[in-house]
């Protein structure tokens, strides 16, 4: 890139990042406000954080939410990636398109409908409502996004590699783990992150299928809206956000470090 376009690119990216982070910083800023709502900043206080740490119920809800998101995204990514392989391997174009359409149904259906029909489904099968039912539902609505993330990767993958591997007598497991997986790993990672995101974002589906004392952050926040959302929730979001930020940056630095070491290793004869 030329210098001029580089300037433009950096300026543009800065703008997008500012846009994306303004509301986040805004609500974190208000977690330190002595007021009761997110308007008219009224001076610094730790009170909302103190209240949060005394609120065992809230902390437990936050932990449960994280657990649910991490676990459901993991399982959804596994199922979804294998599903994408299945769709990819389908030879007939029409069948493939039909499968894709089916795949996307849960993405188009409004949450309320999905939630209500899952609820009917679970009670019909006699599955008790609680962590299990919520986990299954989250996995269910996360799978399509994983497929959508992984499939383009598969389609871009050059087939000659697979053919070559098969010609050289590789087993299907070897083809999968040595050739296909490395090529689609970025798609899988993207799928995992999106699935995780969907899980954190969901309210309506979780509401319908939860029970037996299990609650997520969204449920609690929506239910609190009737009384006005407490800035304690801002404090919690602030902590989780900073934690996620540190995790992401830390993870990145770690991979950078190991990548460098590996490179150094390769150089040795």
């Amino acid at each position: 890139m030329t210098k001029k376009t580089k300037w433009f690119a950096n300026g543009y990216l800065t703008l997008v990042f500012v846009l994306l982070y303004v509301p986040i910083f805004y609500l974190i800023m208000y977690s330190f406000s002595t007021g009761k709502t997110m308007s008219h900043y009224q001076g610094f206080t730790w009170a909302h954080y103190v209240a949060l740490f005394q609120d065992a119920r809230m902390i437990q809800i936050a932990l449960d939410t994280l657990l649910l998101a991490l676990l459901s995204a993991l399982i959804a990514t596994a199922i979804g990636s294998l599903g994408a392989l299945g769709i990819y391997a389908t030879k007939k174009r029409q069948t493939r398109n039909a499968l894709l359409s089916l795949n996307n149904i849960l993405m188009v259906s409004p949450d309320v409908i999905i939630g209500a029909s899952f609820l009917i489904f679970f009670t019909f099968l006699g599955i008790g409502l609680g962590f299990g039912s919520v986990l299954m539902s989250h996995i269910a609505f996360e799978i399509p996004i994983v497929v959508l993330m992984v499939l383009p990767r598969l389609q871009e993958m050059s087939t000659t590699m697979i053919d070559a591997a098969e010609d050289l007598g590789a087993s299907s497991w070897q083809v999968l783990s040595r050739v296909i997986l490395p090529a689609i790993i970025p798609g899988i990672l993207a799928g995992y992150f999106m699935a995780f995101t969907y899980s954190l974002d969901d309210f309506a589906v979780t509401f319908f299928v939860t029970g037996n004392g299990f609650e997520t952050l969204s449920i609690e926040i929506y239910a609190r809206a009737r009384q006005g959302i407490d800035l304690e929730v801002n404090a919690l979001s602030g902590i989780l956000f900073v934690f996620a930020l540190l995790l992401v940056v830390g993870y990145y630095l770690l991979t950078q470090y190991t990548a460098k070491r590996q490179k150094a290793g390769v150089k040795r004869p």
């Binding site: 709502t37 065992a56 902390i59 409502l129 509401f207 929506y222 809206a225």
Partner: protein, 357 residues
């Protein structure tokens, strides 16, 4: 491949850690599973300190689960699969739940302190002889105005909302029964009318209110009014008390020609299991000092007469939230209407919302 396995292992280990901590936290709150009472409540609608006090006094732990609308709660209880011991539906919803056989009648012999409830809030049409419900909080529908730009005399009656000077300045609460309701009251009709002509007339009236309507919103109304986004709003008293406490320019009026009177009530849904704990809790909440403490925390009007007497005079004598007898006489409670009629109310309301587009 190795990296992938490592990543999966890390996530699983992390999950295990979260599960462990969460479990420990849960155990620190509950002594044992058998003496737990599950309360299905609106969010932040009970003083947590009271729950601790209750546990200390009786040994029962209260686990609170939350919902955000009567209808959503109804669906959950109707479908089963849950084990709620107590729920807090509003008046018309009690009728609906009763009709669907979702409620367990109260055993009056185990219930102490019903007499603390003011007689005017007992034996109401939605639940004769309080067979199923114990009143929890009550309130009204009214007009909130900001004295910076609106004079009190300008918003004493529903029909004053149609004043052309209020162009683009009213916020309505997003609820078909309430919006149709005040339009009906304006014309002197019942909020439970089954007369299609009256309903259509009310909808026409609302259409003509459109230029004055700035937005139709829900819980967020509080935030908007506190931030002076609009000078006038139509909302429930509970919401209003929250707004007033945070913006001294706001005031609440219940139009004297009539309005809605609503109740939230404790009931025992058919999913209940722990009856001993349930009655212990009901009796606990009926005690004046506890009801008063709860009213101070939540900020809604308590139906418990003895509890009201314990509240500070400034709260007790506040005409905005404890209206005088004359106004009380004109207030109307919503009945549970037939599904078709509710459909009609909502279709007309939806058309009114679309009318502005």
């Amino acid at each position: 491949m190795k990296k992938l396995v490592a990543a999966i292992t890390t996530i699983l280990v992390f999950c295990g850690l979260l599960a462990f901590t969460s479990d420990r936290l849960a155990k620190s709150q509950v002594k044992s599973q058998s003496n737990t009472l599950t309360l299905y409540n609106w969010g932040d609608y009970i003083d947590p300190a009271l729950l601790k006090k209750f546990q200390k006094e009786t040994g029962y732990h209260v686990s609170v689960e939350t919902f955000d609308s009567n209808e959503a709660m109804y669906t959950k209880i109707k479908q089963g699969g849950t084990s709620y011991d107590l729920a807090v539906p509003s008046d018309y919803m009690i009728q609906k739940m009763k009709a669907a056989h979702l409620l367990v009648p109260l055993d009056k012999s185990k219930l102490h302190g019903m007499n603390n409830i003011s007689p005017q809030f007992r034996n109401l049409e939605f639940d004769r002889h309080n067979q199923y419900s114990v009143p929890y909080f009550w309130g009204t529908l009214g007009i909130i105005y900001n004295d910076k730009t609106v004079k009190a005399s300008q918003v004493q009656h529903w029909k004053q909302l149609w004043n052309p000077r209020f162009k683009d300045s009213i916020m309505l609460v997003d609820s078909a029964r309430d919006v149709m309701g005040f339009a009906l009251i304006r014309d002197g009709d019942s909020v439970n009318t089954k007369n299609i002509k009256q309903l259509n007339a009310a909808k026409k009236r609302l259409d003509s209110l459109t230029p004055n309507v700035k937005a139709i919103v829900a819980d967020e109304i509080k935030m908007y009014m506190i931030e002076n986004e609009a000078p006038i709003a139509v909302d429930w008293s509970g919401e209003a008390s929250e707004m007033l406490s945070q913006n001294s320019h706001l005031h609440y009026v219940v139009p004297s020609e009539g309005s809605n009177l609503w109740f939230d009530n404790l009931v025992i849904p058919k999913t209940a299991k722990h009856y001993k704990a349930i009655y212990a809790f009901l009796n606990f909440m009926l005690k004046p000092e506890n009801a008063a403490q709860n009213a101070e925390y939540v900020g809604y009007a308590t139906p418990n007469e003895q509890a009201k007497a314990l509240l500070p005079a400034s709260v007790r004598n506040d005409k905005q939230f404890y209206p005088d007898a004359e106004t009380m006489k004109h207030l109307q409670i919503y009945n549970n209407l037939s599904p078709e009629l509710i459909g009609t109310y909502n279709e007309l309301y939806l058309e009114f919302k679309m009318y502005r587009n």
